[in-house]
Symmetry: C2
Subunit: 361 residues, 2 copies
């Protein structure tokens, strides 16, 4: 077996240590005689797995006690509706930052449930390559909340700061950047993330929500789309995605072994610096994003000649560097270098890029 370096934007690579542990426990978790995926979610074995995963996440992120941590299904796309359905009722209005493909989707869905004001729009000539400077925007006084996307997975654009929204709850789609570095959770009203990038397998969605924002859904909100349903039942109103929850717990333990989010941040910064430097120090490769707004997690880049794209991808694949093709809306390449991507993987990519430039540049 030869493991590859997988640069997929999501579902994405998982730590090999986590996969090895899951493999060893597949038929018998801790002498229980069953797989975690065969366990009743209400049995003491799974309850302990679930509780430990939540405790580890709370420790890693420093989640304050007045926030609920919910382990849900449906992905960020479901949150695009759940957020306005649960939060917009107070005033019927919300502010959204439009900084890339995913925030556009969030805006589109939110409009179905209330009045959405696009307070920030960083699109220039059809492209998203920056975010506004801190304070470079004006909020609506009557917004029930402000929504933004700290890291745009497709464009590779990231906020280097947390917007100050005063008393207005700040809501963030952290799908592609959660757990990549320390974060002050108390600055947010609600954080959400699909698991399939930095947390675990697809099918698990994490929501961290301040208590006071739970319990006032719009009329017609399905029971399963009401945060109160899940908060009151510790994410076990119905059967949760148990195996994903378990794997997330293994990832949290792995992160603790890496020195937590501060330790992970150092590694991630080194990985991103290595890759961006390789791009910037070459006339053959280019990244279009403002340097202050470059993502640590998703690095899109183009070749000097797009006619070489197929050749680049073919050679990369042969070298064990997979899933580097850029999103169709941006073109070129995209290397997603989430937590599980080892520094050796980024090094191998940079080496391949140099060799490709030497032979094709």
């Amino acid at each position: 077996m030869a493991r590859v370096y997988n640069f997929s934007a999501g579902p994405a690579a998982l730590p090999e240590e986590v996969l090895l542990q899951a493999q060893s426990e597949m038929l018998d978790w801790h002498g229980s005689g069953m797989s975690v995926m065969e366990m009743s979610h209400r049995g003491k074995e799974f309850m302990s797995i679930a509780a430990e995963a939540e405790a580890d996440l709370r420790e890693l992120m420093g989640v304050p006690s007045n926030y609920k941590v919910l382990f849900l299904q449906g992905g960020a796309s479901s949150q695009f509706a759940m957020i306005p359905m649960n939060l917009i009722g107070r005033t019927g209005k919300a502010d959204y930052f439009r900084t890339g493909s995913w925030s556009k989707k969030a805006i589109s869905e939110a409009k179905r449930f209330g009045e959405v004001k696009v307070t920030v729009n960083s699109e220039v000539e059809g492209k998203f390559t920056s975010v506004p400077a801190a304070g470079g925007f004006e909020l609506s006084a009557d917004a029930a909340y402000v929504h933004y996307t700290p890291n745009e997975t497709i464009e590779g654009v990231e906020f280097g700061y947390i917007p100050d929204t005063g008393d207005i709850p700040l809501v963030a789609d952290l799908s592609s950047t959660i757990l990549s570095r320390p974060l002050d959770v108390s600055r947010f009203g609600l954080i959400y993330a699909g698991a399939q990038k930095n947390i675990g397998p697809a099918g698990l969605t994490l929501v961290i929500v301040r208590d006071d924002l739970i319990g006032t859904p719009l009329d017609g909100t399905p029971t399963m789309f009401n945060y109160a349903t899940h908060a009151e039942n510790e994410s076990m109103y119905n059967t949760p995605p148990t195996y994903g929850w378990y794997l997330a717990g293994l990832v949290f333990k792995w992160l603790k072994g890496k020195g937590g989010l501060a330790g992970m941040a150092e590694i991630n910064q080194r990985k991103a610096t290595l890759l961006y430097d390789a791009i910037d120090n070459s006339a053959f490769y280019a990244n279009p994003v403002d340097k202050a707004c470059r993502s640590w997690m998703n690095v899109p880049f183009t070749l000097a000649d797009a006619a070489l794209d197929e050749s680049f991808l073919k050679g990369a694949s042969a070298a064990g560097l997979k899933t580097l093709k850029g999103h169709r809306s941006v073109g070129g390449m995209r290397a997603s270098i989430y937590n599980p991507m080892p520094e050796a993987g980024v090094k191998a990519l940079v080496d391949y890029m140099a060799e490709f430039e030497r032979t094709h540049g």
Copy 2:
């Protein structure tokens, strides 16, 4: 490692062969160098896994070509809302059969989206132990659909027939009985099932829906709750629960190896007969359900003296017979004997029951 016989109602036991295959492929699926859970859902590897699973399911169940098969998230509890949100619009009314705990939940949620008429109510003195005879009910001429629960997981009550609803689309929650025997899909407008009993791990929900019922959701239906969203995107509007989809595919292959649903039905009937005979041939054990309405999948039973319940469970656990405690609303014991439960497991349970009766009766 000693595997146990796990009688959990769900999440439930999976075929050992399936777990072994998943284990062997955990770090490297078919030479791809990655786990299935690390694959982009839009890559050719996962697309082939997804397509093969659907094709196998269509073959196993004989799904007609004018039905879509959707691989969703959210469990049956999400379907309780999605069904009225997508189907009730035509007349604003629907008929529901009330035959146990899960149909009660479906009714409660549907009432939030339209006028629900309980056409059948089999509750007698707080208990559900039967279903009406075929034809023993009158439907509303203006019902947009009729909903029923062919197998009530908690009470162990099952319909021995498919209700004839004429031109009114029939909707069925098959969570705990799907794939247990052949079924004429063309008799239904929509079938749904949480995966965690007979299909695969929790977090995957299967919906099989006739084309003409897709595309007329109520106003305010979230995009993710609109069947059209998923039908038009082959269940890849957003990231699907890829690992559950893969495991379901392995289960479908396993079922084909068992002679398909006809082969499985023979095995399941033998298992159910063995257990019900053991109960009926004893004055120590009892099952309250009308014989014509007994579930093949979920077998609740009581001991002559409830004071012995703890002792029974303790001894069972020591004998490797797990998760036999009945649902709190029914009490006593419940043995869920889904497809993956081997006949040897039911034989072991029956032997233990006889021995316990001999020593405690």
